[in-house]
Structure formats: structure tokens, C-alpha cells
Symmetry: C2
Subunit: 279 residues, 2 copies
Amino acid sequence: MTANHFDRVDGVHVCDITDPDDVRLDNFRDLNSIDRRPDLPSGKGLVIAEGVLVVQRMLASPFTPLAFLGTDRRLTELAADLAGNPAPYYRASAEVMAAAVGFHLNRGVLAAARRIPERSIEQVAEHARTIAVLEGVNDHENLGSIFRNAAGLDVDAVVFGSGCADPLYRRAVRVSMGHALLVPYARAADWPADLNTLRQMGFRLLAMTPAPGATTLPAAMTATHGERVAILVGAEGPGLSHAALKASDQRVRIPMSRGTDSLNVATAAALAFYERARA
Amino acid sequence: MTANHFDRVDGVHVCDITDPDDVRLDNFRDLNSIDRRPDLPSGKGLVIAEGVLVVQRMLASPFTPLAFLGTDRRLTELAADLAGNPAPYYRASAEVMAAAVGFHLNRGVLAAARRIPERSIEQVAEHARTIAVLEGVNDHENLGSIFRNAAGLDVDAVVFGSGCADPLYRRAVRVSMGHALLVPYARAADWPADLNTLRQMGFRLLAMTPAPGATTLPAAMTATHGERVAILVGAEGPGLSHAALKASDQRVRIPMSRGTDSLNVATAAALAFYERARA
């Protein structure tokens, strides 16, 4: 097999790659590099899906893969999903992949897509009943978990206030199980003033806080049962900023037994989403 | 300052260490080594607390520190907690610590304690109203998160079935925010037969599962409101084994919107704990 071998396997455009320096792998190169990784928003700005399930979710999302890179085994697993897809599947050994990507990839398959134009708050909120609004969530794993929880617990969209990490970074997408590609999100251009957009659209702005004087979660969600609701969550540690708390309609707390550090931000968000869906 | 400098600072027994090979650091050496780390149960079997908060939690726990290793800055932060403590505080630079520990330690302070004899299921269940029972939770971060969630959401004890990771490994303790040292736990010697011990003590055994025919979480927790409850949670992916499901009293599901993969095991556990505390 040469580096230019090209074949159609079960309707998939398969190219065998044996040289890790092959330029066709550039969209997958140095994925752990802080300043060269292809999914840097300021660089190539790609989105990388990792693993069979996340690649499948990308195929179901508005992101259109430019190419796939994976082992023969993953090609077999994805064959039905990829049939008829015009993007090439670069088939390589685990060793060639590791040399190009920069580390051994347990999940055995990647897809690279271009980013799509981001939506506005009005667009993602238009048909939403429940929205999560995040401020200062700068950890990719927490951000990914919040998307996963949003998808599982009936949250229709996510809005980013200031200080949040990139939801389309590979690790966030992976931890989200691909839901970062599926749950619509928008960024506030003017924070927290843009919360008024949600309020004007009829959303009640519920700010999650450990403050003892806040309304309890069950009471708050029961009271807003028939309304549109935006759930505001701040970073672990500092929580929501004073400005964001002030711009919200109500402060809401999770009843907790042993101190306020005892829930991670994604877990606290999950409880709020759950209680909202329950009510 | 020599390697043997010894001083009492605000009632703390402080020893300055400048040589990373100093044998007094052996309890903190090579923390990332798969086969030499001092918190390997089959090796030295220590418990390592990492960071100011977790060290404080260890001081409040049944684990008695043998020694501390940290920077001067962390000594200042912990001075009030350490006053009168007989264990030495090995004060070192970040560089000396990194050389001994094997990596740069952001949190700047460690404590090492001996493990304590493990308790029996009867002991941890005796005064408990709610227990979490885990099967196959072999990921240290998930395990740590479950302890953190248990502490925050009124779960009194944890019981391990088969296939669980070591709750006293440094990373599990860190992710638990130290609650792995505080929430009592026990191991089943005979799994799942030991579930009968809990049943005989009056616990209703509720098995979390994504199976569509299961009772919903709110209904299950409302129905068992006045009873003692054990919440069984299985590993992400496979879930509880057939044997564990069969040995339980009731199957319980979290109502979810977009597929059963959409919650992490620690998050699913948190929702069950929350609903239990809520009811």
C-alpha cells in the first residue's frame, strides 16, 4: 500500500496513509499542542470529534466533517454511518496516528470539521423553554459535562456569559459525549446586559448561589413551572459575579448538608436542570 | 539553612528540607509512580491529602497525619490548623517538592497518613438513613465525585460492591474534596450476597438503571420516604450487573430526554441522592 492508495469500501472514500508527515493529516496534527493544535479558535479553528460515538454525533450535528482519521477497526464500526459521506476516511495504523496526533489515541478515530457561524441569543432562545446561562466556567471538562447534562435533562440551549472556555475544544466535545455539537449555544456580546434579551423574551432568570437566604431549588422551580426559565450558573469557587446576581430575577440554592463546596459546578447545574424538568 | 534545621513556628514542628533525596520525604516520593507510589494499598498503604482544604479535612477525619510536606506559603495558610500537631511539617521549595514528588504540585501542600482499619457494612450502616452502594465504579475521579456528592446531599455512608477503585488513592481523595476521608465506607466481602445485610437492617435496595420499565426516581423516593434506603449505582456503560439488579428490591430510572448515555455515573448518583434528600 502506498500513501496514495485510495479505495471505496462500502461506500466510504478510504485513503490509506502510512507516513505520519503526510500533509493530508495536518487537520489532525499535534492535537495536544498549546499553540499549534488545529482546533484552536485563533488558529485553524476546526472542531475535532474523538471516538465512534462522538463522530456519530458530529454526523448528526450541523458540523460537516472535512475528513476522518482512524484505524481499520473503527472504519468497520462506522461503515454504516459513513456510507455515502464525501469526506475521506484516512485509514492508518495506531502508530501512524499517534505520530501525527502527538499521543496514543485510545478511541481510535477522529473527525475534523470547520466551525459554523455562531448563533445569536435570540436564535437559540427562540423556541427554548429552558436555557442554561454560564459565567466563568473556564474548565473544559466542566463545560463538557454541562452540555452532556443539558442534553440529558431537557435543557434547550446554552448561553455563555464572560469567562467561559471554548465549548468546541476537543476535550470539551469529548466529555460532552458530542452534545456540545448538538445543543445550540450563543455568546453574550455584552455581559451581563444581554440577560435583558432573555428577560424580554419572557425568561425568568434564576441565579444559582449557595447563599443561605436564597429560595430553595424545589420552591423556585415549582413557582416558575409554567414560565420560560434561564438557569444561571457561575464558576466553582467564586460562583456568579455580583453583577450577574444583580441582573437576575431570583437567587436559588440547592439544599445541602455539609458545606457549600460539596458540589461541582456541572453537578449543581445537573440538579437545577433535573428539578426544572421534574417540575 | 541545613537539611537538619528544625524549628517550632507558631506551635508547628517545622523542618526545612533542601535535598529532594532526603529520606524524610519518602512518604511523599514518586506520587505518580504506578508501582512505587506510597499510597498503593499493596505497598506502603498510606493516604495522601493534597491541598489546603483536603489537608484540613484530613485533620478533621479519623486519619492521623504522619507528616506534612509543603511550601512556606501553605504553612502560613495552615498554621492555625497545625498548631499543636505533633507531626512534622517538612518545609521545602516548590522545586524540591517537585523533585521528590515527581511533578509540579500546584496545590503546594501534602499530608501523609496511615490507613485505618476498614469498617464493616453493619458498622457504617448502623445509624445511617441513606447509603450509596457502588458496583464497578473503577474510575478514581467518578469515585471521588460520588463521595463529594454524598457529603453534600445527605448520604450517610458508602458501600462498595465488586470492581470499585480505591477510594483512598490521592486523586480520588482530591476530587472528593477530602470527603472520601470523612464519609464512612465499607466493602462487601461477598457480593451481591452482602446486600442481604442491608435488607435485614431495614434498607430498601433501590437499583439505578436506565431501563424504561423502571419506576421513576421521584416516585421511588416518595414511596420510600419514611424508610431506610440504599441507592445502588453501577459503572458508566454496563451499569449494575444482572446479579445486583436481581438482588435489589426495586429498579429506578432518572427521567431523561435524549438517550441514556447522557449522564455520568457520579451525576446520576447525585440526582438520586438529591431526590432522596428532597423527599
